[in-house]
Subunit: 502 residues, 2 copies
């Protein structure tokens, strides 16, 4: 009897997921060359399907499935997939149902207005233009936290949206440790007399050659082209439509090949995650990464722990030299390696290197936490922002455009998202350390281009589970311990002390 | 009161159309490079959405809208768009509702099996492999005709699926006239001593240059690239996702540039139709071509009445010569014109020229009519097919693969579709004649590349109406008379007598 309900429930969910897949295909299409004049109508189509998915997530039918399948004696008999799917749907149901419909509609309108205003405010470098919208967005999210409730700290509820189970307690601890060691390290790097020469990076490098080189690297990294494709967009992304169709996009800067090179490797890390999720999760909300942070750990693992590793370039630098002989003929591997690992404080997060990146995140984390704990007011953000940049990175933004207005996230109402980026770094470093126990010849694998064991390890420990496990459980099972900032700290200290001869 | 219902009804229909647009985007994506491993799941997604559209078309909600809005006093007060939308939905409702659900499911399964079997049968050139499937497909369609009912001739019901309002009576008449004049004309062409030299057509012509040339022609023809794009597929098509997004695909044969050239111009004709449908029809089932035949008239108008016209090449041949100087340096415009208008009997419909094409269609028409009137049995098809080819075209297929098994249509259960192709020729010739009254300098427009008046005329008379008018009404209003095969006959006789010096 309940087996019938289980089947009906899974069919119902599969329908929602089918709509989502259709939406994602249209999203990809819009970003990779859909004709401009059709976009308005296409947005409406996406709107119709999205609304349908939302309605289904809070329908009476959904409520009935949850009611019938939730009792623990029933749950015990459900398949693993059904049980985890139920948990996800329940979470979504409760979240979506608790916000009064009218209020949510207002919020959606506000979001889209705020994004437009933010764009203009950034162009004008005028925080005050954006301020009233940001205040409303924060106020809405405070109300949502009230509706949803919270454990320990109101901000936890927002963190949980992107990093299920993550808390202020954990983040305060790891960020304090990071800050303590990274801030002085950055200062030492800045004042080192051994700065890398980067001048040779900025030679013209034709797009077609960059693309061909990227394709070779992607193949070696294990990206499956019969389950994906590489396209070009202004803002690169990876998108998992289903595990058999995970697409990457990249951007080519003909004056700086690093944009496409590291961008592609980064998105490849995301894509390998989605390509290797267990097939049995297709058609459920579990067929995706478990969290933003774990997703980012995969992209950063590939971008930094492989893509900026000396041994990786011991193998691939000769190939790069073939693609751009004039540019690199007189540059040694060592010079190249130091150049692509240059670290220095900068104002813009998305241009930051791996050493300084977490500091950018910490600043945003502290501000968000303050906003939702009532210790920081929106009106004071520009000053607080600038002070923190001076304190952590030793540089002060000269205007809002390169300061508090630089990121799109808040304008879309995304609070609690930023910490995932820093978590991605920490997760990646911790996974790398655990991987070394199973693959002690890691460096040699990079040097010989045998990258399959690495991907297999990540698939075994991370990818295949999709969203059936929480991020901290995945981390714990893979590494034997909870989140530990020490691995990232040690990695950065060793690497940058060597490069800058500290 | 009924205004509310009208609005609700239009919203309901818009939702169905949104699902359809999503399906079409995925369909386009599947054919232009979606990764292979994702296709199975993508097909399921398409299946889920299609089923939903089908369900909505026969739902109780739909039945209620039809019941409430159909009374003539209500209809009178509806907007034009709502009234025509209602008529379309009613037609769909009645069609879909009358077939028992279980029977329809069986039929869908049969269709997909039959297509596979047909492919194998064609490879093996063995009609008997396909025969039992074709028998079942015909039997199902006969039952459908019983469910749906018919006027005059059972086959009319199938014709109406593709060409609303078209009847055996009309077709018998026009096809008899065509046959009477085209068959002897083809014989005369075959035995003419003035055969064009076509040897220079088959030089290597690099794909990239073909594409660049195609793009130039498309722009001149008035194809709007901000509402479309050109991609590459094995089987070329045009697809209207909405009037702001109408895409074309083409195929490049590097040993025969005609494939891409005329294929692109042909699809452009389809695309111009869809790009210029009135915007107020977006979100309704009226936002598409009125029938297969009228759609084909637009593609054929561009392909033949423009693309194979002497004056068109007077302008564009020098450009072609620039793209392929070696191939055409020593070929005069007259030689080129005669070569691209070569006509000769052949076995394969899709490779046929404009002179012989209608004969291929007539054969299929006569066979289909016989199948549904009970005068022809499936088992006799190969012989009947071959006899008719001998009679009309003077050549006899030596095996089923190039005979009765050549077309995909029947394997998908599409009976009644073929006549639309021939109707497209007749409509196009008749429209051309009417156009000449308004645009007497037609030839000069081609010669100067001022093609906008031509497109505007077609938009005014055909495109903008979408599916709000029936094909024969469009024809009548545009040309002042009903279907008249005389225009196509006159066009072909004049053109081919000149080319072959008869």
């Amino acid at each position: 009897m309940f087996k019938d309900i289980e089947q009906q429930f899974l069919r119902y969910v599969k329908k929602m997921m089918s709509y989502n897949e259709a939406i994602q295909v249209m999203y990809w299409d819009m970003r990779t060359g859909a004709p401009e004049k059709g976009l308005e109508q296409r947005s409406e189509v996406i709107g119709v399907l999205s609304q349908e998915v939302f309605k289904m997530s809070i329908s009476e039918e959904m409520a009935a499935y949850i009611a019938k399948l939730s009792p623990s004696d029933v749950q015990e008999q459900l398949s693993d997939v059904a049980r985890h799917t139920l948990a996800e749907c329940k979470k979504g149901y409760e979240r979506n149902k608790k916000i009064p419909e009218e209020e949510y509609r207002e919020y959606v309108v506000l979001q889209s207005k705020a994004e437009n205003v933010w764009e203009k405010a950034r162009e004008a470098s005028d925080f005050n233009m954006f301020r009233p919208y940001l205040e409303k967005l924060v106020a809405f999210n405070k109300k949502f936290i009230d509706y949803w409730g919270y454990d320990g700290n109101p901000y936890n509820t927002l963190l949980d949206l992107y990093e299920p189970g993550m808390t202020v307690e954990v983040l305060d601890d790891v960020f304090a440790k990071l800050r303590e060691r990274i801030v002085p390290l950055v200062q030492a790097v800045v004042s080192s007399r051994h700065q890398p020469d980067t001048s040779f990076l900025f030679h013209p490098f034709p797009k077609e050659k960059q693309r061909a080189f990227s394709l070779e690297l992607l193949r070696e990294l294990g990206y499956d082209f019969s389950a994906g494709r590489l396209d070009e967009t202004v803002h690169p992304f990876a998108i998992g439509l289903n595990p058999g169709d995970v697409r990457i996009t990249t951007r080519y800067d003909e004056r700086d090949f690093r944009t496409a090179l590291f961008g592609t490797i980064h998105e490849c890390g995301h894509a390998l995650y989605e390509q290797n999720i267990s097939k049995e999760l297709i058609g459920t909300p579990l067929c995706t990464g478990t969290s933003m942070g774990i997703h980012e750990s995969q992209s950063l693992f590939y971008e930094n722990f492989i893509g900026r590793h000396y041994c990786y370039w011991k193998r691939n630098y000769p190939l790069l030299q073939q693609y751009a002989p004039e540019q690199f003929a007189n540059v040694s591997l060592d010079e190249f390696y130091r150049a692509i690992n240059e670290a220095k404080p900068s104002l813009i997060r998305i241009e930051a290197d791996e050493l300084t990146y977490s500091l950018h995140i910490m600043i945003r984390y502290e501000i968000e936490k303050g906003l939702f704990n009532g210790t920081i007011a929106v009106k004071d953000l520009p000053d607080i922002w600038n002070d923190k940049y001076e304190e952590y990175l030793g540089i002060r933004p000269h205007c809002d455009a390169v300061g508090v207005l630089q990121d799109v996230h808040w304008s879309g109402g995304s609070f609690g998202y930023f910490p995932s980026y820093a978590l991605g770094y920490m997760y990646a470093a911790q996974l790398k350390q655990a991987m070394l126990k199973d693959l002690p010849y890691f460096d040699e694998l990079l040097e010989t281009g045998e990258l399959l064991p690495i991907r297999n390890w990540l698939t075994e420990k991370v990818h295949r589970f999709g969203k059936t496990k929480k991020p901290l459980d995945i981390l714990h099972e893979a590494t034997g311990e909870g989140l530990n900032a020490g691995y990232l700290i040690r990695y950065l200290e060793e690497k940058y002390k060597a490069i800058y001869q500290l």
